[in-house]
Symmetry: C2
Subunit: 165 residues, 2 copies
């Protein structure tokens, strides 16, 4: 699962993974983005205005009723190329060792990424959205409505993070 793009760097710490998974996930669709290699992906979903397409498997299509009334959605997707055994990481763009749970790196025990996206259009089982950062073909795990009342915390702080802008 490791390669040049997703390998262990100096200063990173890996642990032994459990022998068995505890639960199973279904891939419920695929995400189509303009990015074919990791180096092309934006650092996070707010860095790009690219319109991406979420193709839901037809099996789940009836679950989209009322989704068109949502201005924003939370998408979960599976970062299938990321190692799962890193507990300390040295992200290239920060250069310091951090704990995995203090990072949004795809490398984590369960490599589920989450992005808040703006919904532009819903047609059949296809959603057009803005706010993604993942590779083309990334497996979709979940679509949730974004509720500002529970999900929006404008004053939240990540203390270790020095803003560069």
């Amino acid at each position: 699962m490791r390669n040049k793009d997703f390998g262990v760097r100096d200063g990173e710490v890996a642990i032994e993974l459990p022998e068995q998974p505890d639960a199973g996930l279904y891939f419920i669709g695929r995400i189509r983005t303009p990015w074919k290699e990791r180096k092309d992906c934006p650092k996070n979903g707010r860095e790009s205005d690219a319109v991406c397409t979420v193709e839901l498997d037809p099996r789940w299509r009836d679950g989209l009723k009322d989704v068109e009334t949502c201005s924003h959605l939370v998408l979960f997707y599976w970062m299938d190329k990321a190692p799962r055994n890193l507990v300390r990481q040295v992200p290239g763009h920060y250069g310091a060792q951090r704990g995995t749970f203090a990072l949004r790196s795809p490398a984590r025990p369960n490599p589920i990424a989450m992005s808040v996206v703006r919904l532009l259009n819903l047609e059949g089982a296809r959603l057009s959205v803005i706010g993604l950062d993942c590779l083309d073909g990334t497996p979709l795990i979940d679509i949730k409505p974004y509720f500002a009342s529970t999900d929006s915390v404008p004053e939240a702080v990540v203390g270790w993070h020095k803003r560069k802008d």
Copy 2:
């Protein structure tokens, strides 16, 4: 997997699940809350000020470095009692049929719940947080730092949702 609390109601639509899961999840800890039955759980994480405890498995403990600098975290947890085959649901407190992906119901193809929580304390592999709504003993899936820059959208709207307060 279905029982009185998590069964199919009139007007709900179930589909045939895929035969095989596509990926495996590790449970990385347990969440301790005051709620032993579903009827006791708050409707969402903002409805309660109860302090809950996240017990991370010691295997992953080194991943908590720098987490103490975060004011808020996103927790993912596994709603292991929820059915996975519902695409249309009639939530008891709303009374109308909605698509699963327009709801935050635990019943969904991949029953991963997400809550934004306020971090009160981190000691060893235990985190004290406010903002959870789940049953005591719920399996933990992930801990992420909450970045207001990408995760906070105060103006987001869920059109079908009529506020009652």
